[in-house]
Amino acid sequence: MPVIEVKELTKVFKIPKKEPGLGGAVKGLFRPQYENKLAVNGINFKLEPGEIVGYIGVNGAGKSTTIKMLTGVLMPTSGTIKVLGRDPHRQRVENARDIGVVFGQRTQLWWDLALIESLNLIAKIYDVHPVKYRLMLDKFTETLELDELLKTPVRNMSLGQKMRSELAAALIHEPQVVYLDEPTIGLDLIVKERIRDFIKAECISKGMTVILTTHDLGDIEELCQRVIIIDDGRIIYDGPIETIKKQFGKFREITFETVEDVKGLDLPKGSELLSTEDHKVQIRFDRTVSSASRVAGMVMKQIEVRDFSLSEPELSDIVKQIYNGALEREV
């Protein structure tokens, strides 16, 4: 029995068209023109209980619109959503009881209240049984190291502390479905790891179904078994994380800052030149075929390098590649 079932989900936004000039302004007042923006275009997917799914896409792809519809905040234009058998928009309150939501940048905690007070209030709102609440609180205090934080109001917390508190608040009522929107954004690596560990431990042990939207591929790699990629309102990939890892996990990018303009370069096998604009040479190489040192060595023999940096491929790059059929080719 799928926990989340989405069928032909579509959302169209009517954006008012603004015409320039005085005539346009007057016209806009009396006979406004609209154009339709298709934010989500007939998407379909099912989530079984306990799945942890990464829902990724570039900005504007339709991610947040989908999440808003799934959480019942936004009404679909057409199509159906069933979360735990309910329509999240029509049965908003019942659905709300069983879900936990983390909106990465916007805290649900009260700014001036000590964390413990916020959690108490949330427990009251979600009608958490006092005994159960006590248990959960003790557990989270331990696993999220909240001891000193409990007396601290949110306004005095660092980003990492905020996020740990946020997770506690979102999961304190043991929701069956959890939506995590950018939970690790802006955090340093150590804190990210702790957050990821917590999510793994808590959600998996309770069999929660999780949808994670993020730009951080590290999050996806560590937490998700399945990835859904949305682009321009449509789902362009829905499958196991393994395939993504195999296809893109092996890639790394080196960017060299050069003194002079570079026209062409000889590169070792398994690497390709992405761009040479702006005195920056970008090269992508396959870790399984070549190595950073080999590429760097070869490049620095040919040109004068001022600085260089190593990075993982961008999500937008992956999306582009998928569009160009990269995924299909390998499989």
């Binding site: 005085l22 302004a25 007057v26 007042l29």
Partner: protein, 270 residues
């Protein structure tokens, strides 16, 4: 010749086309603010008219005189504004006050010029309200040039009194962050204490004494008294002298307090 005419026409045309655009671009707040002011004026007018139902003069003032005074006091309310306190507060909070103190300009002078500019802007924005007062409530502005000159001198003096008084209060921002609350408290009191709600002559002796012992009335009741003729022009020099004395006293007090406060901030840190 025709070319020039056509060009001029198109220039004027585009200027005229700007007017409705400006109208529509104007914030909702401006128009609604105007309505809110009209409501306040209406209440004042009807209140006083009802009071004057019983008698033709109060403390020697007829209905016409009183209404003129009340409406003019309402229109010239910006003379009592305490923007300076808010400026100080926000400057202090953002730390920009240090930059100002380091600049080789007279800090007080600079602020005075700023506030004066603010006053002029505010008064210009009061014009639509004044027009409505004339059209709707029959307000008659005095026409005598000498009266206006006497008023303007007194208004400037009164404004300066308020400036130094606000400066004094603003120094409190160095000591407390609750300046917001203080500002609102003062706003509440200013309404009555500036003489905007009741002409000074109508107040009982003891109330008038209290009101005249604080600076607010110097900024509003005193100049508007001259403008409406409640205070005869022959009294103008005496009035100005009193205002000058206020300025002197407050200037000394505020400068001293400011020096003390600055020392606190530079010695102890902000």
């Amino acid at each position: 010749m025709i070319q020039t005419a056509r060009r001029n026409l198109s220039i004027y045309g585009s200027i005229f086309a700007m007017i409705p655009k400006v109208f529509m671009a104007y914030q909702l707040w401006f128009w609604i603010g105007l309505v809110l002011n009209v409501i306040s004026m209406a209440i004042l007018v009807y209140f006083w008219r009802a009071i004057y139902n019983e008698t033709s003069t109060i403390s020697g003032l007829g209905l016409g005189q009183t209404l003129t005074y009340i409406l003019l006091a309402f229109i010239f309310m910006p003379l009592t504004s305490n923007d300076l306190i808010w400026e100080f507060g926000s400057n202090l909070r953002e730390g920009t006050i240090i930059h100002h103190l380091l600049r080789p300009i007279n800090f007080q002078g600079m602020n005075y010029a700023q506030m004066l500019g603010g006053l002029v802007t505010r008064l210009i924005l009061q014009v639509p309200m004044a027009v409505i007062a004339v059209l709707l409530f029959g307000l008659r502005f005095p026409t005598d040039l000498v009266t206006w000159l006497a008023f303007m001198v007194s208004a400037l003096l009164g404004f300066t009194v308020m400036f130094f008084f606000n400066w004094l209060l603003a120094c409190l921002t160095f000591y407390t962050t609750e300046i917001w609350g203080l500002g609102v408290l003062i706003d509440g009191m200013t309404f009555f204490l500036s003489g905007a709600l009741v002409p000074l002559v109508m107040m009982p002796e003891w109330v008038r004494t209290i009101v005249l012992s604080i600076p607010f009335a110097q900024a509003l009741a005193v100049p508007v008294g001259l403008l409406t003729g409640i205070t005869p022009l022959t009294d103008a020099p005496r009035v100005w002298l009193i205002q000058l004395l206020w300025i002197l006293g407050l200037w000394v007090a505020s400068t001293l307090f400011f020096r003390v406060a600055v020392r606190k901030i530079t010695v102890q840190g902000g």
